[in-house]
Every structure is written in C-alpha cells, then in structure tokens.
Symmetry: C2
C-alpha cells in the first residue's frame, strides 16, 4: 500500500486560475497544508477542511507535517502559490521524502507568475526567457549576479521573482545596475503586483526607470529582450526574428 | 463598443489541466480558432461549435481569421497549446492588432510544458531556469547557440522546447555539443514526450547520453544545474544552496 501526497500549484490565487486537476485534489483532500497567506486565499469549501500551516521560513517543518499526516492515513494536499515546482515546495518534499520510501509524491502543476504576469502585461515572454529569483535567502548573491550577467549576455527576456522584501529594499536596483552593464537604458520593461488578486497593478517603463522603482515581494518584473517593444501600452516580445511568408 | 478576442492557453491538452478561466472562455465562445491538432484535443461540447483552423506555418492567417470573425460580432477564442504567451500566438496577435484598434486582446494563461513536464519528472525547475526553443524557423541558429552558451555559463536549469523535427533531426545533438563545452558529461537530464496526453513517456539520463537520444517535436527536454540530482528516479533541483535552520 502506497500513500500519496499531492503537491499542488494553486496559481496566482483566484480559484478560476487553478486547473481542474488541482481543484479535484483539494476536493478529495482530508488535510490541506500550506503557508497561512495561501490557505486564506482558498474558497470556504476548502477552508472548512483541516488546515495546517507553519510560518514563513519553516518550510521544512511544513513538509514534515505532510508526511506525518499522510502516515496517519489522511489524504494530504500541500499547496504552493503559482507552480509547486517553480521556487515551490516540490524539491524539498522529494528531499525529505527519502526518509519516507513508502510515500509517493505527485506534483500538480499550476500557473506560475511568469505566465500569469505575462498575460496581464501583454506577451513579454513569447520567446526564449530566463527566470531568476533575487532572494538571497537560500542562494549566494554572487550566484544571482552571475546569472543576471549571463541572462543579459544571452539576450534573454528576464523574469525576476522576489525582486524585493523588507530586508532587501535595494535588490532590484542592484540587479538593474548589473543588467545595465550589458543592456541599454531604454530597454522596455514591465512589472505586475498582486497578479490575479485584488489590486492587480501593472506598469511599463525603461530599464533605467525600473532601477528606481519601488516594488514589493508580491511583484514580478519583466525585462524585455533586444526585440521587445511596447504596442499600445502592452509589453510584446516577438515570436521570432523573421516574418512568415504571406 | 469594444470587441474582445481571447487568446487561450489550453495547457498540455487534457481538459483537467486547463484553468476554469480558460474553460469559461471556450464555453462562451461562438468560434474557436486554432491549429487543427489542438482543436482535435478539445472536448465534444467545444468541438460542436464553429471551428476554424489553418495549417502549421500559416499562423498569421490564423490570427487574421480571429480579427475578421470578431468584426462580424462573433465571440472569438484562439487556442494555443501550453501557455498562449510562451512561443504562442499572443505576440503575433498584438502585432496584427495594430490594424484593429477597436479590438481588445485578452490573454488567458495556461500551463506551459516547462511546468507540466517538470511535474512529471519531479522538480527539475525548482530554482532559476532558462527556456530555449531549438527551432530555427523564426530565429537564427547563431542566436540559439549564443543563448545555450549563456545558459550554461549562468548555471541555469535549461528547458528545451522544440528539440527536434523531421527537418532538424540533429538539433538536440548540436545543442548538447555546445552545452558540453561548459557542462560536465554526467550532468543529470530528463525529457518528457506527450505531456498530459496519451502515451506520456519520461526518461532521465546524463547530458552525454542525451546527446544521442532520439526525441520528437512533442518532447520537452530538461538539463539540470550543477546542484540537480536524481532522487529515486526523479530529477530534482534544490530550492537553494543552504539548508534552513531546524
């Protein structure tokens, strides 16, 4: 007999942006585990279930709760914002799962902020792109700098997750300064706050302007590639460099 | 009065992996436009509607059909596989949309193959990653090579879309050879064929082995970063480089 734990990407937050598969898993779950903020975004029918959470930074404890509840015979769903496998809990669950060989993990994908944010801004990641988190909580800053330089060098569209926090107010500025060494000041950029929730806010600007913008931890930032442009206020990256034959 | 055209990401194909928002748009649509293969994946209730398609490579015509039908007063949905804004039709719609200033475009995000494929393989993109298409139909090969080199240089997890086609049988080999200049032969990789459809197939291997694998155009390839590892057959990239305090 194998226990299964479902690691579920809930997308940006609105239930309409969850997949049917994710909703089905939550409907069948006995216990829903997650960071408090995300549990609060769930519909009442899910919040009526047993909900278990740990504060931010106690992700390992949160994972262990899942395995413990599953061992009791409960049907467990662990929710993550966006996609469970993009800066989410999926990899930590697999690491801890080594201690629980009889438990099978099932990852249920969700809409990550690169995609939901892009949809609001227009079509900024319609060609090759990089996703980089500016959080140095679990990654040395030198590694982040190296990736920013490589992304500029490769002329990728760049999507920045976690561009700021209370303790890291100047990180977006630092990232822009690194990018500005290889990318022109007037490169088109955009950012979205609170994607798919109350108070969604979008802005477009140049890379130089982005440097001085204040963003928060619920913001996703998009830096266009050399071919990106603004069309009627939307941030657009072409599918390719040639036009098809008519 | 403004017409709206919805550009809808249908995810990998199974209806369960579409969002409620995407399904709602299709339910309200009078006409569904898309590449024939994707129209065929839709449920009967949607296929009973007016369906319009153009062959592959006639994407511009497909977009123009949307605007023309919309001008007739019809409610139009354009479907794309995965996410409509990741190598999808969103940016081309905005470009052509310049000629139709009274039409508003709405992008409805979907689960892109980087996320749906990752969920099947384990958690390969759980840290910074790049998405690169190996198709040189609309992009010069030199640009693709440059991006592969930059992605290796930045120690990104790399996701390859369109790794092969009838005319480009050796492209994955060529890409691996470029990556092998900067990445060790034993780097862990994985690939998924027909994600979320009949006949899903997953494999893991080293970068050197990947070089000689035959993949098709429905395959998505994942190349781990320097910290990626196989855990019980799953391809896992850690969320970070430090462990949290217990």
């Amino acid at each position: 007999m194998t226990n299964k734990i479902y690691i579920v990407g809930m997308g940006p937050g609105r239930e309409e942006l969850m997949t049917g598969e994710a909703l089905g898993v939550l409907e069948r779950a006995d216990v829903i585990v997650g960071y408090t903020v995300y549990l609060q975004l769930l519909d009442e029918r899910f919040r009526a279930k047993e909900l278990l959470s740990t504060p931010m930074r106690q992700e390992e404890q949160r994972c262990r709760i899942c395995f413990r509840e599953s061992e009791k015979g409960k049907n467990v769903a662990l929710i993550c914002s966006g996609d469970a496998g993009v800066y989410g809990m999926a990899s930590l669950m697999y690491e801890i799962g080594k201690e629980y060989p009889e438990t099978e993990l099932v990852v249920v994908p969700g809409i990550t902020a690169a995609c939901s944010g892009a949809a609001v801004l227009g079509a900024p990641i319609n060609h090759d792109f990089c996703v980089i988190s500016l959080s140095d909580l679990l990654t040395p800053w030198e590694k982040i700098e190296k990736r920013l330089r490589a992304a500029a060098e490769g002329d990728f569209v760049i999507v920045l997750y976690n561009p700021s926090s209370h303790k890291r107010k100047d990180y977006l500025m630092r990232a822009c300064d690194i990018l500005l060494a290889g990318i022109k000041e007037e490169r088109v950029c955009g950012y979205v706050e609170n994607i798919g929730r109350e108070g969604t806010k979008t802005e477009t600007c140049t890379l130089n302007e982005l440097r001085n913008r204040e963003v928060n931890m619920f913001t996703t930032v998009f830096i266009g590639n050399s071919e990106s442009e603004l069309i009627d206020g939307k941030l657009i990256t072409k599918r390719g460099y040639y036009r098809e034959e008519k």
